[in-house]
């Protein structure tokens, strides 16, 4: 069944989730120059945390403890699906509480793992750093795919309590609004961060690490902070994803989402958050519109051969976008703008008259008066 409202809500929700991911990648890659091609690792951490926590909480509240067979978590049992969906439909406190708790824990865990994962950035740069982080992400995915803990291995978890499940009808609308609001909040916070002294330190480390060190910036610390912020945001996106689809599957976290995020940031313009808003919109539209079911529902006549292959053609288009951008517009549609925070403006204004130090002294004396 194809419903237009569900379809639009789906696009909007994925837009919000991927906007958060792309903004976090932009902090790391665009502003700090760290090619975090293991983006999906941090995204999946949030998802596994939220998935495991929500399932555990739901069956605990329901009082459902089947005999644990062979160390399998109780929520992986076949009967757990019905138990979880029943308790979720009638228990608003559980639904919202689990969401809030996952939200907070995922941000903390993401930041922690980000700091740990910033260790390779001290030793490696460029292509080798990218390969290392990509490999780390795959290791985590294979482990989650094979082990029953935390998300039931290759079967995955479904039927999780989503935050507005107790509100049939309005729930999906509320959740989409919530995701978009969180994405907007993340956008505003990242804009403030990258236009602060800290953001300038990121760019300094990216452009010339040695010079940044000479000016007293602790490059290692700055990189670790960028990774922590980026990873916390990615984990948050993972939580939002799990509560949108109501399930967690290890095989969603193959490297493809990372490549989509790379395409978004490069298309919009790296180190330009407005560009990322635009780039995410384009890639998400391609991703969501080019599906066999959507093409069918919209009644677009296509020969069956092409119709079956729409999903693959979608990824071909993304690859083509990456290649064409690198060749013809590596800075993206909206290129990075020079900094226009007040410090720069002041130095322009006072050329030939007073130095910055004098100005700031004047400002301080004015403030004290």
């Amino acid at each position: 069944m194809f419903e237009l409202s569900t379809f639009i809500l789906n696009i909007a929700t994925f837009y919000g989730i991927y906007l958060i991911l792309a903004l976090s990648f932009n902090i790391e890659y665009g502003y700090t120059g760290l090619p975090n091609f293991g983006k999906v690792l941090f995204y999946s951490i949030g998802a596994y945390l939220a998935g495991g926590l929500a399932a555990w909480a739901a069956i605990t509240v329901a009082g459902f403890f089947p005999e644990v067979r062979g160390g399998m978590p109780a929520y992986c049992a076949g009967e757990a699906y019905n138990v979880m969906t029943q308790v979720a439909a009638t228990n608003p406190a559980l639904d919202i509480g689990v969401f809030l708790l996952s939200f907070v824990l995922a941000v903390l865990l993401g930041a922690l793992v980000g700091v740990v994962a910033s260790y390779p950035t001290l030793r490696l740069t460029g292509d080798f750093l990218a390969i290392t982080l990509l490999a780390l992400g795959e290791i985590v995915r294979i482990a989650a795919h094979t082990e029953l803990w935390p998300v039931c291995g290759y079967n995955g978890l479904s039927g999780l309590p989503t935050p507005f499940e107790w509100l049939p009808g309005y729930g999906p609308y509320l959740y989409t609004a919530l995701v978009l609001a969180i994405a907007a909040g993340v956008y505003m916070i990242t804009e403030r961060m990258v236009n602060s002294p800290w953001g300038r330190a990121l760019k300094a480390v990216r452009d010339d690490e040695l010079a940044a060190l000479v000016y007293g910036k602790n490059a290692a610390k700055v990189k670790a902070q960028a990774m922590a912020v980026g990873s916390a945001l990615a984990a948050l996106a993972g939580v939002l994803y799990v509560f949108h689809v109501g399930g967690a599957f290890a095989d969603d976290f193959i490297p493809l989402p990372t490549f989509m995020v790379i395409a978004m940031v490069m298309l919009g313009g790296s180190a330009n958050n407005k560009g990322v808003i635009f780039g995410t919109a384009v890639i998400i539209l391609i991703d969501q519109l080019l599906n066999t079911s959507v093409v069918n529902a919209l009644g677009i006549p296509l020969p069956p051969g092409i119709l079956n292959a729409t999903t693959y053609i979608k990824y071909m288009i993304m690859g083509l976008i990456i290649v064409l951008l690198l060749m013809f517009r590596p800075q993206g549609i909206l290129p990075e703008k020079p900094l226009t925070t007040p410090v720069v403006v002041e130095t322009k204004r006072v050329v030939g008259e007073t130095t910055i130090q004098q100005q700031s002294q004047e400002r301080e004396s004015a403030a004290s008066e």
């Binding site: 460029g126 080798f128 290392t132 294979i142 069956p304 693959y312 071909m316 690859g319 290649v323 060749m327």
Partner: protein
């Protein structure tokens, strides 16, 4: 204990088989990386296309094994050269960094892989392929461990290719020019080496080796449009472990193949670890080597190479 001995023997034999295929796959990557600085993720797709070309040559046009191997090599070489001429060379002329080249190769890989998937999804019988001729069993070691013609063919091919490339690098002007470009492209150009020609030959050679390994892959097991992409992590692990040196890559590929098979056999039999963890061996090698010895573990530049520079 008998089952342990035979199981280990089988793992070592299979390890030598897959290891030599990984080595063949990885030589091309190393060559291209050394000469042109492209950490080429699309290398995996040349392997897949090679496998498909040899399948089509045999199953649709009724060729024999030699035709299939040649078809695979031609397909790999053509794709490899085409992707350099259309993407990597223009980017290199514009001064792209190695990271940009890597991202571009991911893009090229996406186009090739999903292009093949799109075709395979809408054509009957192309989603999973295997050459119509199966390798024959020769006999059994110790009465139980089966040995197959592929167990000899694959390491043999790797050996022949190694000797051929060794002679190319040490005895010919072209090989010397390739080494010169690998160590210093600017100096190579000043010395009058036609770096564009060298570049082209390198990509063709890399693509041919990828196509050849794709043929061997489809000969001994089932291939699908994502086979190359899945093998890619072993290829990168071998190249990184060998520090992107020619002999280091080959030896690392074989070692990785054997260690991967033996380690997973032992872990599965003695500790009950799932065999799904096999790829983790390659991923862990990649991460650990890059973190603690990024210049590579087995860096082998043969003395002959050094003397003749």
């Amino acid at each position: 204990m008998w089952w342990l001995v035979t199981g280990l023997l089988r793992s070592v034999l299979d390890g030598l088989l897959v290891g030599s295929v990984y080595a063949l796959m990885a030589i091309g990557l190393t060559l291209v990386y050394r000469v042109t600085q492209v950490a080429n993720f699309a290398h995996a797709e040349y392997i897949t296309y090679g496998a498909y070309a040899s399948y089509i040559a045999m199953a649709w046009f009724g060729g024999d094994l030699v035709t299939a191997a040649v078809a695979g090599m031609l397909a790999g070489a053509a794709l490899s050269l085409a992707s350099d001429e259309t993407v990597f060379k223009p980017l290199w002329k514009r001064g792209a960094t190695p990271l940009h080249l890597l991202v571009a190769s991911i893009g090229v890989g996406l186009i090739l892989r999903y292009g093949l998937l799109a075709v395979a999804a809408s054509t009957v019988g192309l989603l999973k392929i295997r050459l119509p001729t199966f390798p024959e069993a020769i006999g059994h070691i110790l009465g139980v461990v089966p040995i197959n013609i592929i167990h000899i063919l694959s390491p043999g091919t790797a050996l022949v290719v190694t000797v051929f490339l060794h002679l190319l690098f040490t005895r010919t002007k072209l090989g010397k020019a390739m080494r010169a470009m690998a160590s210093n492209p600017v100096l190579a150009r000043i010395s009058g080496i036609n770096i564009f020609l060298v570049r082209r030959v390198t990509w063709i050679l890399g693509g041919m080796l990828a196509g050849l390994s794709g043929f061997i892959f489809a000969y001994y097991t089932q291939a699908n449009p994502e086979s190359g992409w899945i093998a890619l992590l072993w290829i990168f692990a071998a190249a990184i472990m060998g520090g992107f040196t020619f002999y280091g890559t080959i030896i690392s590929g074989v070692i990785l193949g054997v260690v991967g098979q033996v380690a997973i056999f032992l872990a599965a039999q003695l500790a009950g670890v799932s065999t799904a963890y096999t790829p983790v061996v390659a991923l862990l090698v990649t991460v650990v080597v890059l973190l603690f010895k990024p210049e590579g573990v087995i860096r082998l530049q043969s003395l002959a190479l050094k003397k003749r520079v």
